[in-house]
């Protein structure tokens, strides 16, 4: 789910061809929407890691290795999501610069300056998109690995396996 949401935000980011100097083109609104969506997911990731960490300490026996690995996968995705947000923050500043240039009286080199700032803005958005796609790809790989590791336990094993042996594998300790 998180994977699809991150890839969806990356898909909705404005493309190079849509980057017009006119704010009415919607670049600003697209950026604002992307930042709002992304911050929501980012906060969700942070709270999920925090909650799971507390649960692991409170109920160590209920905390399976799969749950722990899933939590670690979400935590890893937070780095790329944060970096995507940083790139979008830079894009906001570049949008401001672009606006300023658009409404300045054109002088010598104005067209080149405009083009340069558009290239910079495009670079930040491309960077954000790349980070989000990378986060989604990594989450997909982690999900596949976790699913592959979930081999069903034979019923006989369930009846003979002591409960303590199951819960002792991932250790629950407080730091």
């Amino acid at each position: 789910m998180v994977m699809n949401e991150l890839a969806g935000i990356a898909d909705r980011l404005p493309l190079t061809t849509q980057l017009s100097p006119e704010p009415r083109s919607g670049t600003g609104e697209d950026l604002e929407d992307a930042i709002r969506d992304l911050t929501r997911h980012f906060t969700y990731l942070a709270y999920t890691i925090a909650t799971r960490d507390r649960q692991a300490h409170r109920y160590p026996s209920q905390y399976t290795p799969q749950l722990r690995e899933g939590t670690a996968a979400l935590a890893r995705a937070a780095t790329r999501t944060g970096r995507a947000l940083a790139a979008l923050g830079e894009a906001v500043t570049a949008t401001g610069h672009l606006h300023h240039l658009t409404h300045n009286r054109p002088g010598p080199g104005h067209a080149e300056d405009l083009q340069h700032t558009r290239t910079v803005l495009d670079g930040h958005i491309t960077q954000a998109r790349a980070q989000l796609f990378a986060a989604a790809r990594q989450l997909r790989a982690d999900a596949h690995r976790l699913l592959a590791a979930q081999t069903p336990v034979a019923p006989a094993a369930l009846t003979t396996l002591p409960v303590a042996a199951v819960s002792s594998s991932p250790r629950g300790r407080s730091r």
């Binding site: 980012f42 942070a46 722990r68 780095t79 940083a86 606006h99 730091r175």
Partner: protein, 189 residues
Amino acid sequence: MDLDNPAHLRVVAVRLGDRARAVAAAASAPAGYLQGRLGDETSNLADLLADLTYAVTWQLDEAVRRPRLHTPELRRGTAAAARAAIPVALALAGLGQAVAQLGALHTLDAYEPTEEQQAAVHRTRHGLEQTLRDASAQLAAAAQHMNHDADHVDDPPRRPPTPSEIAAHATAGTLPPAVPTPCGPNPAR
């Protein structure tokens, strides 16, 4: 927020300063409290970034709709808010790194408590604290800049920046290099 109002810009500066102190406090929070504080600070900073982005994009739209109302004061205030988006977003990226480091600590918790494991926990915890301190420093600097911008937003008109000066400011790719996520010793299980 009224971006041509110095008082409103100072409120943003106060919010930035508050977040800088809160992130610094999270860095020295005792074990068990850090997780909650990291979640709260991520949420608070995300709100601040969303507010700044909204203020800037709304103002840019207004400038097109009502160009006569787009005064030099408003233009300066909008530029100040747009500039503040960078350190806030970079601080958020730092918190993302901190969340990943918290995840690494969480993973390390499942390992047998060997000397290697203890060293890895210590190193990761130290890295996490440093990440938060760096994020706090970014926010404190942003607060200082915002206060400075608030002091000068209603200065008498001065020479506007030339297009080349504006373009020179818009430099690409200032993201810091990613800190490698620490990995622990071989799992005991």
